[in-house]
Structure formats: C-alpha cells, structure tokens
C-alpha cells in the first residue's frame, strides 16, 4: 500500500454569513491558499474529492459539479462524499483511498457549506431531517435535543455535571480567541456559559456549535510526490471509520469495543450497558481501527493534540472516553484535571473546535485537517500571525469527525515525518 501525506491546506474565515461570495468562490479562495502554501499550480492536482452536506441548504443539487468546474479541475476525476457532520472527515478518508489505491498521486480534498441562505430555525430543521423522518423528526426531534438526552444519561450514569460541559466550551472559546479563521472571538466564563439561554436541558447556547459559511481544503499526495513538494512531510498513519444506528434509541447495550492493548476487565463496571445512548460506538470503532494501524496503545501519552468534533460540549466530553483519553465515565474529571487544555497533557481542540470556529458542515472535518497539518508542520505562527496555539513539539495529532449522534465517525492519525 502506498503511504499518503497531507502536504498543504487552505481555509476561509468562517462567518455567520458570507453573502459576498458564492460557495464556488469560497472554495477557490481556500484552494488558492493551499496551492500557494505548497508552491503548486493547478496542473499539479490530478483529482479531487468534494464534500458538502445537503442539497437542502441551497437548493442547488450536484453542487460539486459547479465547484469542480469553478476550480478549473475539469476533466479530471472527482466525486462527492457525504455523511452528515462527518462529511469532511469522510472526504479525507476518500482522498486517502484515492491516493493509496494508486488512482491518484495528488488529490485535492475540499469542502464547503453555506448555511446562511435559510434562517437558523430552518437550518436546524434541515439538520433534524438528517434523523429518522418517520419516527424521530415528527415528534419534534432535533439535534440539540438528541445530544441533550445523551448528556442527561451520561450525567445520570457517571455523575457528570453541566459545569464540566461549560468548562469545555470556555476552553474552546479561549483557544479560538487566537485563531483568526474562527467565527467567534469571545471570552466567556463558566458562569456565562451556565447562565446563557437554555437550548435543551442541560445544553445552553454557548455549548452548541453555530451554523456558518465557509470552505476548507487539504491537498493529499503519495509519499513519493510529497517528497518532491515539501520537506515538512506529514503522513496519515492511521484511519478509522465507525457507524451507528440512525435512531439513537436503537443503539445496543453490550460490551465495550476494546482498543489495542485494552482488556475487558477495564470496563467491568459498565456491566454490559455500553454504548446505549451515553457513548458513541462509532467513535470507539473508528479509534480502534486508527490506533491499530498507527500502533497506538496509550493515546493520552502517544498523541500530542486532538481536533475533535465538538458540535456540543457534551459530545466533546463523551469523545474523550471513546478515544480512551480517559476511561468511560471519567470525561468530567478529565476536563477538571486540565488535561485537554492548551497547556495540558493532551490539548483538545487547540483551534477552538466547532463550538468557536463554526460548523459549515461540509468544511468542518477538513478544517480539522488543516489545523492539524499546521500544528505538525509547526506553521501556526505563519498562518495565524501568533504562535499562541502552536502545540510544542507536536509530532502526532488526531482528528475526529462526527455525524448526527454518532451515525458516522472518522478518526485520522497524522504524524510528522520530518
């Protein structure tokens, strides 16, 4: 199998609304930045992968053909990948497959979403239509509600608190303050977060990511090509993808999927009720595959930073456990101990995550790839005009993309090769 590298990335500033530009122009801006960063020209790209979430957001079907065209990539191969909130992560996975399979040497993976052409309640309704429209949507189901019920169950089972969720939101806002690409540049206290308007108990507004307009891209290349392009090689050394039932209520209650090196006894206290609605089986499965491939048995110490899909502060906490940054049930303690902070043992979402950067769905998972690449290339200073968010000696990073209540989850391990 051919080894695959990430060689450059580009991103637009995420914004609540960017009516000045069409989606295709946003993609072009991100693409131009990635080309410039790698010193490449249009002709050097031999294929693309496009990601966006839903035709509903703009009423333009086959949008990928419009963007492929606009980027000047015709008649080269392309395809669109979609998987809800995990769309971007799945796009990177498809880009890897494209290069590793030998079909492509240099592949552009780009994604976008323009969520501002409908009002927020309609946007939330569209996203809710990405749950079961026969059984779950008609009762008023929507994603903040689903995640809130998961959070309540986690609190019930493990004693997790709303304050712990709030701490995660504060951490991510604090990080984003130094990220010029982030939609939000605010400073909040834990009390601010707890006192903010309730969306769905126990989730308050600042614990939820926001809709956004934006585009992001990464350029992937075979190892051989990558070596011709950059000295700062970054390899994809592990990939994982897990899935789960569409209806949260259909999740099994059984035994934990074990990660490399784990023994069943570790989770005896869960008494066969995993994942239920409190954890993400798909995330665990994705981590298992990725850790196996990358040779990770002690993620807390072997991973230097992680960009995880924090559509909700509660799901970031749950994800600590799925990724085995801590044991199931210990997510609250993990954040209270300061471990996921920028100066902690394993900085999580040094970029500010979705909560503060925004969540233009098709771009988000790729945004994580861009920020992780810059960490590993040690170019945060160059791209953000400040090294405040540069994780020192970052050699291995994890990116984690996630669709509605964990229906799709991807994990990629990126490693410095220079």
């Amino acid at each position: 199998m051919r080894r695959v590298c990430v060689i450059s990335g580009g991103i637009t500033k995420f914004a609540k609304a960017n009516p000045e530009l069409t989606q295709e122009a946003m993609c072009k801006d991100a693409f131009d930045r990635a080309l410039a960063d790698a010193g490449l020209e249009l002709k050097d790209i031999d294929s693309s992968i496009c990601t966006y979430f839903s035709d509903h957001f703009n009423g333009q079907l086959l949008f990928d053909s419009l963007t492929q065209d606009y980027l000047g990539l015709c008649p080269k191969p392309s395809m669109r990948i979609e998987g809800g909130g995990a769309t971007g992560g799945l796009g990177i996975r498809a880009g890897y497959m494209n290069v590793a399979s030998g079909l492509s040497d240099v592949c552009l993976v780009y994604g976008f979403e323009k969520m501002s052409e409908v009002n927020t309640a309609k946007g939330n309704e569209f996203i809710a239509l990405a749950s079961d429209t026969d059984f779950d949507f008609p009762v008023g189901g929507f994603y903040s509600g689903y995640y809130a019920t998961m959070a309540q169950r986690h609190m019930h089972e493990f004693g997790t608190t709303a304050e712990q969720f709030a701490r995660i939101a504060v951490k991510n806002y604090d990080n984003a303050f130094y990220n010029p690409y982030a939609q939000k540049h605010e400073r909040l206290t834990v009390q601010d977060v707890l006192n903010a308007p309730m969306i769905a108990t126990p989730i308050t507004r600042p614990m939820v990511c926001v809709m956004s307009d934006g585009a992001a891209c990464v350029i992937l290349a075979s190892e051989e090509k990558a070596k011709q392009i950059t000295r700062r090689l970054v390899y994809i050394t592990g990939l994982g993808c897990g899935t789960d039932t569409m209806r949260l209520g259909d999740r099994p209650r059984g035994d934990v999927i074990l990660l490399p090196g784990e023994e069943p006894e570790k989770y005896a206290y869960l008494k066969g009720r995993w994942p239920g609605v409190a954890s993400f089986r798909g995330g665990r499965e994705a981590a298992r595959q990725a850790y196996l491939q990358a040779g990770i048995t002690d993620p807390l110490h072997q991973i230097d930073f992680a960009e995880v899909h924090d559509a909700y502060a509660s799901s970031e906490l749950q994800t600590y456990e799925d990724m085995d940054f801590c044991k199931y049930g210990d997510g609250g303690k993990f954040v209270e101990a300061g471990l996921p902070y920028l100066d902690g043992e394993l900085p999580v979402n040094p970029s500010g995550g979705l909560i503060a950067c925004g969540h233009p769905v098709g771009a988000t998972g790729i945004m994580q790839g861009v920020f992780a690449l810059w960490q590993l290339q040690e170019t945060i200073q160059d791209h953000m005009k400040s090294d405040r968010l540069q994780v020192k000696d970052a050699r291995r990073g994890l990116i984690h993309s996630h669709a509605g209540t964990g229906t799709y989850i991807t994990v990629h391990i990126l490693e410095r090769g220079w």
Partner: protein, 147 residues
C-alpha cells in the same frame, strides 16, 4: 414579484415548495396501530432481538421479524426539556423529549412527555402511552404521561 433583500450583493427570495406523498412501506402497521391505541413492535425469530420502532428485517442478524404488541407502559431512560427546535416545531416550545424503556424491548423509544413539570422529571420514572384521538398519521400520534 421577487423579494430583494440587498443589491450589493444581489440577494433575492427564492421560495420553494414540495408536496411529498410519503409511504411508510413495510412499517405501515405501526402507524395504523396508533389509531388502535397500540404500539406494534418487531421480534426477530432467529436472534430474539426486539425492535420498537419496528423493522421488517432484524438490524442485528438480518432475519425477517414478526410483529407483536408491545406494552404501553415503561420507564424514562433519558429526557430533555427543549427550549429551541426546528422551524416546524417552534410553536410547541417548550416541550419534553423522552426515551422510554419498555419491558421486553431491547431498544428505547423516542416520544414526547406531557403532564409533568420539568423539575419533577427523573430518569427511571414510570410513564404510559397516550394516543391522540384525532390522528395525524405520524409518530406524534402517541405521547407519554406519568403512569
């Protein structure tokens, strides 16, 4: 007449309407059952898994399931009080979503909980199904109240 929201850039209104005729297909019986005040579920004859919402095919082993009538009493597995919703449900706010555990059913069932103050809801509480008389032929034709 086109609504214009801005000239620089040019922003216009584009209303769009679709009339779906939606079929519940092989799970029609569940929705028809709500009018009979019954909750029809599925049981897999091969692996024994039970499903509510029902499925024609077992999601665990793939075998064809049989219909059976589930209990209409259960317990709150988890819940949330919603203060925001998708556009279609803004008028209902606030409302309570609840996942209900039933005896003999492997899955938990999403519905609305009414007739109880948010501060009085606890996980584990007993609840029972109520059915709307004037059915809308959708999953909202059933809801739950404290038992």
């Amino acid at each position: 007449m086109t609504d214009v929201y801005s000239f620089q850039p040019l922003m216009i209104g584009r209303p769009y309407r679709i009339e779906y005729i939606h079929s519940y297909g092989e799970v029609s019986q569940f929705f028809l059952g709500l009018k009979e005040q019954k909750l029809y579920a599925s049981r897999c004859p091969r692996c024994g898994a039970t499903w509510l919402p029902p499925r024609r095919d077992c999601g665990k082993c793939g075998a064809k399931c049989n219909w059976f009538e589930a209990s209409t009493e259960g317990k709150i597995h988890t819940y949330s009080v919603l203060h925001f919703a998708g556009e279609a449900f803004l008028n209902d706010l606030p409302f309570v979503l609840v996942y209900v555990e039933f005896p003999g059913i492997d899955t938990v069932f999403l519905s609305r909980l009414v007739g109880v103050k948010p501060e009085d809801i606890v996980i584990g509480m007993s609840v029972k199904a109520r059915f709307k008389r004037l059915v809308e032929w959708n999953a909202n034709d059933v809801y739950f109240v404290p038992a």
